[in-house]
Amino acid sequence: MAQLLFFGRLGDLAGGAERTLGLSEPHAISDLIGIIGASDDLLGSALAEPRVRYAINGAIVDGDALVEDEDELAFLPPVSGG
Protein backbone atom coordinates (compact mmCIF):
# COMPACT_ATOMS: atom_id res chain seq x y z
CA MET A 1 0.00 0.00 0.00
CA ALA A 2 1.29 3.47 -0.85
CA GLN A 3 0.99 5.94 2.00
CA LEU A 4 -0.38 9.38 1.01
CA LEU A 5 0.29 12.35 3.30
CA PHE A 6 -1.68 15.60 3.04
CA PHE A 7 -0.16 18.58 4.85
CA GLY A 8 -1.68 21.88 5.92
CA ARG A 9 -5.08 22.73 4.42
CA LEU A 10 -4.83 19.69 2.12
CA GLY A 11 -5.39 17.50 5.19
CA ASP A 12 -8.67 19.32 5.86
CA LEU A 13 -9.77 18.79 2.25
CA ALA A 14 -8.77 15.12 2.32
CA GLY A 15 -10.63 14.60 5.60
CA GLY A 16 -7.43 13.43 7.29
CA ALA A 17 -3.67 13.80 7.04
CA GLU A 18 -3.07 10.23 5.86
CA ARG A 19 -4.60 7.82 3.40
CA THR A 20 -3.44 4.52 1.92
CA LEU A 21 -3.79 3.51 -1.69
CA GLY A 22 -3.10 0.06 -3.17
CA LEU A 23 -1.14 0.31 -6.42
CA SER A 24 -0.87 -2.78 -8.59
CA GLU A 25 1.68 -0.97 -10.76
CA PRO A 26 3.71 2.30 -10.56
CA HIS A 27 1.75 5.47 -11.32
CA ALA A 28 2.96 8.99 -12.05
CA ILE A 29 1.90 11.47 -9.35
CA SER A 30 -0.13 13.43 -11.91
CA ASP A 31 -2.07 10.24 -12.73
CA LEU A 32 -2.76 9.61 -9.04
CA ILE A 33 -4.08 13.17 -8.70
CA GLY A 34 -6.40 12.42 -11.61
CA ILE A 35 -7.64 9.26 -9.90
CA ILE A 36 -8.21 11.10 -6.60
CA GLY A 37 -9.94 13.98 -8.44
CA ALA A 38 -12.33 11.60 -10.17
CA SER A 39 -13.97 10.81 -6.82
CA ASP A 40 -13.20 14.14 -5.05
CA ASP A 41 -13.15 17.10 -7.37
CA LEU A 42 -12.21 19.70 -4.72
CA LEU A 43 -9.27 17.69 -3.37
CA GLY A 44 -8.12 16.80 -6.88
CA SER A 45 -7.91 20.41 -8.01
CA ALA A 46 -6.24 21.49 -4.72
CA LEU A 47 -3.54 18.81 -5.22
CA ALA A 48 -2.99 19.95 -8.80
CA GLU A 49 -2.36 23.59 -7.88
CA PRO A 50 1.08 24.66 -9.14
CA ARG A 51 2.20 25.79 -5.67
CA VAL A 52 1.73 22.29 -4.24
CA ARG A 53 4.98 20.31 -4.19
CA TYR A 54 5.37 16.55 -4.05
CA ALA A 55 7.81 14.36 -2.14
CA ILE A 56 8.34 10.62 -2.52
CA ASN A 57 9.94 9.02 0.54
CA GLY A 58 11.08 12.43 1.75
CA ALA A 59 12.66 13.68 -1.49
CA ILE A 60 11.09 16.47 -3.56
CA VAL A 61 10.08 15.23 -7.03
CA ASP A 62 7.97 16.55 -9.90
CA GLY A 63 4.58 15.35 -11.10
CA ASP A 64 6.04 12.85 -13.57
CA ALA A 65 7.73 10.85 -10.82
CA LEU A 66 6.49 7.30 -10.38
CA VAL A 67 4.95 6.15 -7.11
CA GLU A 68 5.27 2.49 -6.23
CA ASP A 69 3.17 0.45 -3.87
CA GLU A 70 5.54 0.74 -0.87
CA ASP A 71 6.19 4.47 -1.29
CA GLU A 72 5.26 7.41 0.89
CA LEU A 73 3.87 10.24 -1.25
CA ALA A 74 3.51 13.62 0.46
CA PHE A 75 1.54 16.60 -0.87
CA LEU A 76 3.13 19.80 0.42
CA PRO A 77 1.17 23.04 0.07
CA PRO A 78 3.07 26.35 0.49
CA VAL A 79 4.75 26.31 3.89
CA SER A 80 3.67 28.89 6.40
CA GLY A 81 6.91 29.28 8.27
CA GLY A 82 7.68 28.58 11.87
Binding site: L5, R9, A55, G58, L76, V79, S80, G82
Partner: protein, 153 residues
Amino acid sequence: MRTDIRIVSLPFDPESELATFRSSLQNAGGLVSFTGLVRPSSQGGEVSILSLQHYPGMTERGIAEAVAGAASRWPLEAALVIHRVGEMTPHEPIVLVATASVHRRAAFEAADFLMDFLKSRALFWKSETGAEGRQWIEPRDEDYADAARWDEG
Protein backbone atom coordinates in the same frame (compact mmCIF):
# COMPACT_ATOMS: atom_id res chain seq x y z
CA MET B 1 30.81 23.39 14.40
CA ARG B 2 28.58 21.86 17.07
CA THR B 3 24.91 21.81 16.07
CA ASP B 4 21.80 20.90 18.00
CA ILE B 5 18.51 20.74 16.06
CA ARG B 6 15.32 19.68 17.77
CA ILE B 7 11.62 19.61 16.89
CA VAL B 8 9.66 19.43 20.13
CA SER B 9 5.97 18.90 20.76
CA LEU B 10 6.01 20.07 24.39
CA PRO B 11 6.78 23.52 25.81
CA PHE B 12 10.48 24.34 26.19
CA ASP B 13 12.36 26.92 28.25
CA PRO B 14 14.44 29.18 25.95
CA GLU B 15 16.55 30.64 28.74
CA SER B 16 17.58 27.33 30.24
CA GLU B 17 18.46 26.11 26.72
CA LEU B 18 20.52 29.29 26.20
CA ALA B 19 22.32 28.77 29.52
CA THR B 20 23.32 25.27 28.43
CA PHE B 21 24.35 26.55 25.01
CA ARG B 22 26.48 29.34 26.52
CA SER B 23 28.20 26.99 28.96
CA SER B 24 29.34 24.82 26.01
CA LEU B 25 31.29 27.66 24.36
CA GLN B 26 35.10 27.63 24.27
CA ASN B 27 36.22 30.59 22.16
CA ALA B 28 33.12 32.47 21.13
CA GLY B 29 33.03 36.14 22.02
CA GLY B 30 29.38 36.54 21.19
CA LEU B 31 26.11 34.66 21.24
CA VAL B 32 23.03 35.83 19.35
CA SER B 33 19.62 34.39 20.03
CA PHE B 34 16.18 34.79 18.54
CA THR B 35 13.16 33.64 20.52
CA GLY B 36 9.85 33.60 18.67
CA LEU B 37 6.67 33.86 20.72
CA VAL B 38 3.06 33.09 19.82
CA ARG B 39 1.43 36.48 19.32
CA PRO B 40 -1.95 37.07 20.97
CA SER B 41 -3.32 38.51 17.73
CA SER B 42 -2.73 38.45 13.98
CA GLN B 43 -4.28 40.03 10.87
CA GLY B 44 -7.37 37.93 11.51
CA GLY B 45 -7.93 39.19 15.08
CA GLU B 46 -7.37 37.50 18.41
CA VAL B 47 -5.64 34.13 18.36
CA SER B 48 -6.40 31.53 21.02
CA ILE B 49 -4.49 28.56 19.61
CA LEU B 50 -1.65 28.32 17.15
CA SER B 51 -1.10 24.91 15.63
CA LEU B 52 2.07 23.90 13.78
CA GLN B 53 2.42 20.78 11.67
CA HIS B 54 5.69 19.41 10.31
CA TYR B 55 6.81 16.49 8.16
CA PRO B 56 8.88 14.37 10.57
CA GLY B 57 12.31 13.63 9.16
CA MET B 58 12.04 15.86 6.12
CA THR B 59 11.56 19.05 8.16
CA GLU B 60 14.60 18.22 10.30
CA ARG B 61 16.72 17.47 7.23
CA GLY B 62 15.77 20.83 5.71
CA ILE B 63 16.78 22.66 8.87
CA ALA B 64 20.04 20.69 9.07
CA GLU B 65 20.85 21.77 5.50
CA ALA B 66 20.17 25.41 6.37
CA VAL B 67 22.42 25.13 9.45
CA ALA B 68 25.16 23.56 7.28
CA GLY B 69 24.68 26.48 4.85
CA ALA B 70 25.14 28.95 7.71
CA ALA B 71 28.28 27.10 8.84
CA SER B 72 29.76 27.38 5.35
CA ARG B 73 29.09 31.13 5.16
CA TRP B 74 30.10 32.22 8.66
CA PRO B 75 32.75 31.01 11.15
CA LEU B 76 30.45 29.63 13.84
CA GLU B 77 31.45 27.74 16.94
CA ALA B 78 27.96 26.37 17.62
CA ALA B 79 24.36 26.66 16.50
CA LEU B 80 21.12 25.66 18.19
CA VAL B 81 17.64 25.40 16.65
CA ILE B 82 14.64 24.32 18.71
CA HIS B 83 11.24 24.42 17.04
CA ARG B 84 7.94 23.68 18.68
CA VAL B 85 5.13 21.85 16.86
CA GLY B 86 1.58 20.95 17.86
CA GLU B 87 -0.81 23.27 19.67
CA MET B 88 0.39 26.40 21.46
CA THR B 89 -1.23 29.33 23.24
CA PRO B 90 -0.26 33.03 23.09
CA HIS B 91 3.11 34.03 24.59
CA GLU B 92 4.48 30.48 24.43
CA PRO B 93 7.89 30.16 22.73
CA ILE B 94 7.64 28.69 19.21
CA VAL B 95 11.26 28.83 18.15
CA LEU B 96 14.71 29.43 19.53
CA VAL B 97 17.73 29.99 17.32
CA ALA B 98 21.14 30.62 18.85
CA THR B 99 24.49 31.11 17.14
CA ALA B 100 27.92 31.68 18.64
CA SER B 101 31.07 32.94 17.00
CA VAL B 102 34.35 34.66 17.68
CA HIS B 103 32.94 37.47 15.55
CA ARG B 104 29.84 39.40 16.61
CA ARG B 105 28.75 40.08 13.03
CA ALA B 106 28.92 36.41 12.06
CA ALA B 107 26.68 35.41 14.97
CA PHE B 108 24.12 38.11 14.08
CA GLU B 109 24.02 37.28 10.39
CA ALA B 110 23.83 33.52 10.90
CA ALA B 111 20.92 33.81 13.36
CA ASP B 112 19.13 36.19 11.01
CA PHE B 113 19.71 33.83 8.07
CA LEU B 114 18.41 30.80 9.98
CA MET B 115 15.27 32.64 11.09
CA ASP B 116 14.59 33.75 7.51
CA PHE B 117 14.87 30.12 6.44
CA LEU B 118 12.58 28.89 9.22
CA LYS B 119 9.98 31.58 8.47
CA SER B 120 9.71 31.02 4.76
CA ARG B 121 11.24 27.73 3.61
CA ALA B 122 11.21 25.20 6.43
CA LEU B 123 8.47 22.58 6.19
CA PHE B 124 5.94 23.91 8.69
CA TRP B 125 2.23 24.48 8.21
CA LYS B 126 0.52 26.79 10.61
CA SER B 127 -3.09 27.32 11.50
CA GLU B 128 -4.56 29.85 13.89
CA THR B 129 -7.74 29.37 15.84
CA GLY B 130 -9.59 32.53 16.86
CA ALA B 131 -13.16 33.80 17.15
CA GLU B 132 -13.67 33.01 13.44
CA GLY B 133 -12.55 29.40 13.77
CA ARG B 134 -9.41 27.81 12.40
CA GLN B 135 -7.48 29.31 9.49
CA TRP B 136 -4.38 28.10 7.62
CA ILE B 137 -1.61 30.70 7.32
CA GLU B 138 0.85 31.29 4.49
CA PRO B 139 4.10 33.28 4.77
CA ARG B 140 3.87 37.04 4.35
CA ASP B 141 5.52 38.58 1.27
CA GLU B 142 7.91 40.12 3.78
CA ASP B 143 9.10 36.67 4.84
CA TYR B 144 9.83 35.67 1.25
CA ALA B 145 11.66 38.96 0.70
CA ASP B 146 13.71 38.50 3.89
CA ALA B 147 14.75 35.02 2.82
CA ALA B 148 15.63 36.14 -0.71
CA ARG B 149 18.28 38.50 0.72
CA TRP B 150 20.57 35.49 1.19
CA ASP B 151 20.15 33.98 -2.28
CA GLU B 152 23.15 33.93 -4.59
CA GLY B 153 23.01 36.92 -6.95
